[in-house]
Amino acid sequence: MKTLRRNMLAIPIIVWIGLLVGTPLIFVFVLSFLSRDNLGNIVVAFTLDNYKRIFDPIYIRVFFNSFLLATLTGLVTLLIGYPVAYITSGLNPKRRAVSIALIMLPFWLSSLLRTYGWIILLGNTGIINNILVGLNIIEKPLNMMYKFGTTLVGTAYMLIPFMIIAIFNSVDKLDRSYLEASYDLGAGRLKTFFNITIPLTLPGIFGGFTLVFIPALGLFFISDLLGGGKTIFLGNLINTQVTKGRNRPLGAAFSILMIVLVLVVLFIYSRAAKREEGGLFQ
């Protein structure tokens, strides 16, 4: 009886978040099966058209772009971030604290500021072009803005701290005596790294990949600012359909698709994490 009364205390919190997240999601789900008239008004008539349109080649392309961007962001941040995490965990306590602080600090900086920094650097009259032209390395400014690669750079830059922290937590728990054992048994540094270190830090790699992949699907402002809207991603599409295209049901269907994609990634992650024992949400 007493625990029952205490459990009741949790109701307001669960209702608060559940109501603000759950109900809107149900709304979106319902909306994704409705149609709209020519003025963009929503018509209550059940249809599967919104989902059928997903298989339109144009939209398949958008879907593919987003998937590619998120996957490449995961790979790039992994390749650059792994050594950072590994080196940091081997530093002496003082330097280690400084390194971790420098990795975490960007979290506190405005994401718009960090994206804008790349516009200043990569633009036709940007800083990198000025330096290269000034040093006579190139004659004409390089065209680096508004490409798929520009969006990739911006997205990877934004999300790399997540990857590093996830890997760091894993690398830091690594029992270094395994490495010593491997060396003693005659394995070289490379062999030890690929046969011992990488497998033992897989939970961190999976965790980091998940933490980077999910937001990479939806950060539409980066592709808007750095990609110039040339390559269309899922996030941009949803945003345009809802705010400008006046086709909210279609935007809703794509949102549901995006959520499903995230759930699939999380499912794969939780399976992998279970096998590796341990993970982000133990």
Binding site: I17, I80, L113, G117, I120, I238, S255
Partner: protein
Amino acid sequence: MRSRTKGFGTFYLSLFFVVLYFPVLSVILYSFNSSPSTAKWAGFTLDWYRELFSDGVIGQSFKTSIQVALLTSVLSAVLGTAAAIISLSVSKRVEKTIQGVMILPLLVPEVALGISLLIFFTALGLPFGHLTLVLSHSLFCVPYIYIMVQLRLKEIDKSVIEAARDLGATRGQTIRTIIIPLVMPSIITASLLALAMSLDDVVISSYMSGPRSTTLPVHIFSMMRVGVTPKINALCTLILVGTFFIVGLGQLAGKKNRIKEEF
């Protein structure tokens, strides 16, 4: 051999940090450039900052952002802390439910969360503005506060709480006089994090802003889409200074509490 790899490690790490901070430093540097273009450095000026302060729209959106962020962090601190403390005494199953519900807003991609809230609030007929901004921001702030306070709660020596109960303190008294003061540093740090997250949010705010209440990031975003101007650099630099102020405050609060604990 060992010192060579160590040297390489230091080099790689330094290079990484240079790349990590170069874009940010460039923005700051060029906010003082008297030429409106990044093409050349034409000398030091504070003109862009002067222009900022005479821009009424920026002032208005700044005010909105601050109001929303303060309300959000207070609301989220109360809800997040309450959820964490309640989690202590509920059954395992309910605790799992709370955790599941808490993680939900973090799992849904921001765009999807933003448009679902837009559709929901439109259906409810809520006026878009401060109210919708605070409600939506609290969604992604409460979970962080909950997680941070809960981590701290786990560190607390259970015998302290038991001692208070044995000495006749009621549950309410124990929470007020023992638990809350012990987790206070975490609550403060988490609230400051919430403040920073609310001040920084672009995606969800872009759907939640009303006709007369645009937040600063949403306004900056629309400025950036139009083109590069040192005015944006100046604005970003000021926000950076503000952020450091908040972070510094958080560090100070944490340190003060740690010193207190030692005695």
